[in-house]
Symmetry: C2
Subunit: 718 residues, 2 copies
């Protein structure tokens, strides 16, 4: 599934990708101390490649390949109908009354938080027949991109070329925070400066925010995620991976001008489609030094941690139904990431991919060596390699302390946020840790004061395991580890901390946060004490990593410049969890000599379930069994296309030439798991739920006639 | 569950614990490059502590605590009624016609190998109503200990005190092989020299072997392992963890003089019981240097590998029913080890346990320093610490190459055995790698030519994963790794190797094995080529580890000597998967202020299932549901005792003062998971199935009246 990797920890993101909402990716991005974002170019690109900026769409390419002119109104409509789920995915407006469609697995975070011992909405689904029954989410924020403004010159002017990394980093952080604050004050919109082309460009993105979001409809997880982990990232597939929310403003359904018109017609092989969504992260133009780090350190380490968590949570879940409910969304996220990482590592360990990348790099370096005017770029690869070495030395400690892998507990993250808010908020805006910049505080508070339920047993389990991990990795006799454990076993210590903290109480969080530094300093809350204990070390290692990130940014800028010069300009930046446009064809592929068709049907769902004897995870919800006869089994269920997508694109609307919604992205196939590093359209495919199957099942399985009526009321035609 | 940790690999054991059957422990023992076996003493022992040698039972202790005299005939009868399962557990003779009882989870290895796509005996159970229906196992060897002879003097005479480690190791290996060969030639019995008290004693054990073993009865896994992984190592428990085999000789049921008489009477709190079985390994008198290694390296590394395997096999199993069947026994072994290791690491990370151990060591060192006659022992701790450092440097490579963690495939292990057999068999008996000594060849061949089914998909999956692990650990650019992968990805390489090898064919194995060195050398079988490729490196690292093992053995001998002198003689050696006698009381315990009773009943089983809504793994087999009314629900089901047991004791008979069978060991509780390092009878308990529940369910649930009749026919009374 193509949600952005889930926040296993609520730790901060280290300021390195701070244009991303706080909740995102942090665990793995951090666990990984990430690869850089760099520019891809048109030269050498495969045909349907690209996650394009909305202010620089590949008009010529699309005209040439598909004979279509992408117009400004068409683009603006699609942009403003696209929605970012800050919990880690994409979506779209599908009615003028604020109805938003996304994937079930994107909505899962919100669904999970509604549940209690007597209600498992994630598992059983939900349908509000009237607006009065719609359930308000605990902490779901939606963003809609309104405008993009190029602020590259202003950012670059603030960062003088002769600054040392530390000063350069501070200057860049300062000017970005300033631009964001000014923009927010002026427009009232959420304003983020996004780093693109690895420092080649800085764009100011302004978002309209919705924080009153209510659940309208979700099917059972069993049909949304039919086939479970075994069929995840596989194709053919049969998943009704959708759910519906409604955005509210001032207590009433938001009025939305740009919402997508629905088209349930069948798609033909080769037909052009577009995907408008928020790909989370790609690493396509990493240097070899960075790729080797990914292959040798990042991915194995991430998988080690994921395997450990999967076993921990699976064992916990098996103990009772209620345990299973509590851990469900987290466990799904872990399994999803594990399968995705496993595919990625498989790609990295394939000598064919690696030698292709290496040859590409050698070619560019050779070309640079022959051009005097590119002399400035010649050392960039070495600079990155050197920075990567430094990152490598500190990555483990960074991951354990700053990214919180050693303190895997929501309560710990809350404690750290409260602690740091006390210290950061009195500082000048530009000097704060990036997540505390003025323009981000509202979102941070929205999350900090979330009323989501916390489970002491699960908190303890995760914290005990991560304290064990901390002791294993740094050594149980490391002075900081000794202080953290306080002469107790990790289990006993975790029980004390989780049992003793008062941060479970939202009012207490507010009291501390609003009380400020002195009130926080006076608190003896044990979880706060732990956050305080490690904060010096944690900040120090964050500084190191951020400085090297700055060094790499500048070097990548030089490589990008060289690449433009040698291979020609034009292209798209690596993914940044901001809005992008992809395009491609609905298209089957050949595997082991067998033709895999471009779509499945509802009939295929029943065949698959029956071939697996309806054993979990291939069992069907009861109403899908009893209502089979009502369904038109010829309706397309899932389909595939060559569109260039990655984690974060989950829930993206798929539209046709007319801008009509024909489906919703929910996954890629196994062959697409190398897309982080390289696009290929040989066998890699994006998977979507077909619009027809959504309407058919809403009507006939769920008796959700009102919802269908709202969907089909139609949007503006283009 | 207390089976010896399962052979996840069939790799050899590195000669370090070669008294153990080849299949055993190797993965983890090796993954761990083990702790030493050392002597525990009476001084400071807790009351019911001890895994005693049958030729040195704690007569005085038992007389003093329980007022019972352990007589020679009583002991001989129990010894000869006890059976070792070389697949990793214990058992006992329970009829004069060769009937053997063990745990279902010990028999699981054999049950697994009977299955095919249409039969899942492991899951569904089996009952041969007549002898003709009994199913012959593929490769199950049973051993019965007949005599013990002290050969310490002869071994020590061969190993001169001034030899360098390499020569000392060779001399020791040589004289042991010679003693074994002579014994085998003279008696026709399997003959193993067992290293006890870490080189303090060498005893020659002679075993009667049974290799024609047939399955008689097994219940469904669902009742044998009721509660699954969640309830594993928990108490209260409700498991019918038994199965029955029959030993044959010359095609007829073996006639057994020493078999146990059955007693189904209720046990009283405080009642004395004995356990006669084969504890696999304990590490109670490791030095602090070794304990730290266990805590900091061994256990975390083992858990990392176990988590990885658990995820791999769980994901594979979820894909289809047939996959689940194929992987079932291996997956159980992995989960069982994971939970056990997790408990062990929890203990190691508990400062209380560690400081108790450290204080104990300091006390002994101080005492040695004050006695001139113990001067020779003073440096022993430092010697071990130094040897441990060397082991630490080479452990990873040893584990990957020699223990086979980088080549997790039965076919690879077969290839290596064939390759090395060609090289080792022409050598003099005393100079061979220990597993090829004359006295062991019959058992080795029995296993090598096993007709157990091999599944190409599962072999590929495991091999691809372990080649990935190899590349991660040694680095993908390591010269040996490059050669192993041959410019392919791990997945592609594994597919080639498993697809290409002809060693799936038992006849081919025989042809190569019998053809000898030249025939093996001429073979281009790809799996053989891989075994050949790494063999030089693998042997080299094995040499290093074996030499350090010799160094540690000698040093531990000196520590043992000092301990005898300071604390008094008498005691039991650490476990060695050879027959031991434990004793203790049937006894409940107190947990969180609540009294946990000493037994459960059949009624409790139904209560537990119903409280979990009969959801897996708490579902009951159908006949247990339909036949509930027939059962006397007051019959005791499982009971607990203070007997000192560990992995390998699974299936051990539990007898009363009269030597009558009252139960069968199958597990320890969570609190017992530290027993590897330290005995405690505060809350740690051994779990047994009560004899009454076995008879009750055989009669009323399984209609196995004939079997019950055979069981109750009665054995010799003592």
């Amino acid at each position: 599934m193509l949600g952005v990797e889930k926040p296993l920890l609520m730790s901060f993101d280290g300021g390195m990708n701070s244009e991303k909402p706080r909740r995102l990716i942090r665990h793995f991005r951090a666990a990984l101390v990430k690869g850089a974002m760099v520019v891809a170019t048109v030269a050498g690109m495969e045909a349907d490649e690209g996650m394009w900026l909305f202010n620089a769409p590949p008009r010529a390419l699309i005209r040439e390949r598909y004979g279509m002119d992408v117009t400004e109104p068409w683009l603006e409509h699609l942009q403003k109908a696209s929605v970012r789920f800050n919990s880690g995915g994409s979506g779209s407006f599908v009615s003028e009354d604020g109805l938003v469609m996304s994937n079930h697995h994107v909505g899962a975070d919100a669904l999970q938080k509604f549940g209690d011992a007597d209600h498992d909405y994630l598992k059983e689904g939900f349908y509000a027949k009237t607006q009065a029954e719609e359930k308000q989410c605990h902490d779901l924020e939606l963003n809609v991109l309104m405008t993009i403004e190029d602020v590259t010159e202003r950012v670059n002017a603030a960062v003088k070329p002769d600054l040392k990394p530390e000063a350069a980093f501070a200057a860049r952080r300062g000017v970005m925070a300033q631009i964001e604050k000014e923009s927010m004050d002026k427009t009232g919109l959420r304003s983020d400066v996004v780093t693109l082309f690895q420092g080649g460009k800085y764009h100011l993105y302004r978002f309209k925010k919705y924080t009153d979001v209510r659940l309208v409809f979700a099917p059972e997880q069993q049909i949304a995620f039919f086939g479970g982990d075994p069929d995840n990232f596989e194709y053919p597939r049969y998943d009704l991976d959708v759910c519906f929310f409604r955005a509210y403003e001032d207590g009433k359904p938001a009025k939305i001008a740009h919402h997508l018109r629905w088209n349930t017609g069948e798609l033909t092989e080769g037909e052009l489609i577009f995907v408008s969504g928020h790909p989370g992260r790609t690493s396509r133009l990493l240097t070899m030094a960075e790729l080797e780090y990914a292959r040798d350190v990042q991915y194995p380490r991430a998988l080690q941690r994921l395997n450990r968590l999967e076993v921990l949570l699976t064992a916990y879940s098996a103990r009772s139904k209620e345990n299973a409910r509590r851990a469900k969304d987290t466990l799904f996220g872990v399994q999803n990431s594990r399968k995705s990482r496993d595919g990625g590592l498989g790609g990295l360990m394939d000598p064919a991919l690696f030698s292709r990348k290496a040859a590409d790099e050698r070619r560019l370096i050779a070309a640079v060596a022959q051009r005097l005017e590119l002399e400035g770029s010649a050392k960039a690869w070495e600079t990155i390699s050197h920075a990567q070495q430094i990152v490598k030395q500190h990555a483990l400690r960074y991951n354990l302390l700053e990214a919180g892998l050693g303190f895997h507990s929501t309560l710990f993250t809350i404690a750290r946020t409260v602690l740091r808010a006390g210290e950061e908020r009195p500082k000048a805006n530009g000097e704060r840790l990036r997540e505390f910049r003025e323009s981000n505080l509202a979102s941070l508070e929205f999350e900090l004061f979330s009323t989501e339920p916390l489970y002491e047993d699960l908190e303890q389990l995760k914290l005990a395991d991560s304290l064990t991990f901390l002791a294993e990795q740094l050594g149980i006799d490391d002075p900081l580890v000794r202080q953290v454990l306080g002469n107790k076993s990790p289990r006993a210590r975790a029980a004390d901390l989780v049992g003793g903290t008062q941060l479970k109480d939202v009012a207490m969080r507010k009291r501390l946060y609003e009380g400020g530094k002195a009130v926080v300093a006076a608190s003896k809350d044990p979880m706060l004490e732990i956050a305080r204990l490690i904060d010096g070390d944690s900040r120090r290692v964050r500084d190191i990593i951020e400085q090297q990130d700055e060094v790499k940014k500048q070097a990548h800028g030089l490589i990008a410049k060289a690449r433009f010069a040698v291979e020609g300009a034009g292209g798209y930046p690596d993914a940044t969890f901001t809005l992008r446009l992809s395009f491609g064809a609905v298209k089957g592929y050949t595997e082991n000599g067998r033709q895999v068709p471009h779509q499945t049907t509802l009939a295929g769902l029943y065949d698959r379930a029956s071939s697996q004897e309806f054993a979990p995870p291939f069992d069907l919800p009861k109403r899908w069994l009893t209502r089979k006869d009502r369904l038109n089994l010829e309706v397309p269920f899932n389909f595939i296309s060559t569109a260039d997508i990655i984690g974060g694109n989950s829930g993206s609307p798929v539209v046709n030439r007319k801008g009509e919604l024909v489906g919703i992205i929910f996954d890629g196939n196994l062959q697409s798991l190398v897309l982080d590093f390289v696009y290929t359209e040989d066998k890699a495919r994006a998977l979507s739920v077909h619009s027809g199957a959504i309407v058919e099942s809403l009507r006939k399985v769920y008796d959700a006639g009102e919802l269908v009526k709202e969907l089909l009321r139609g949007g503006p035609s283009l």
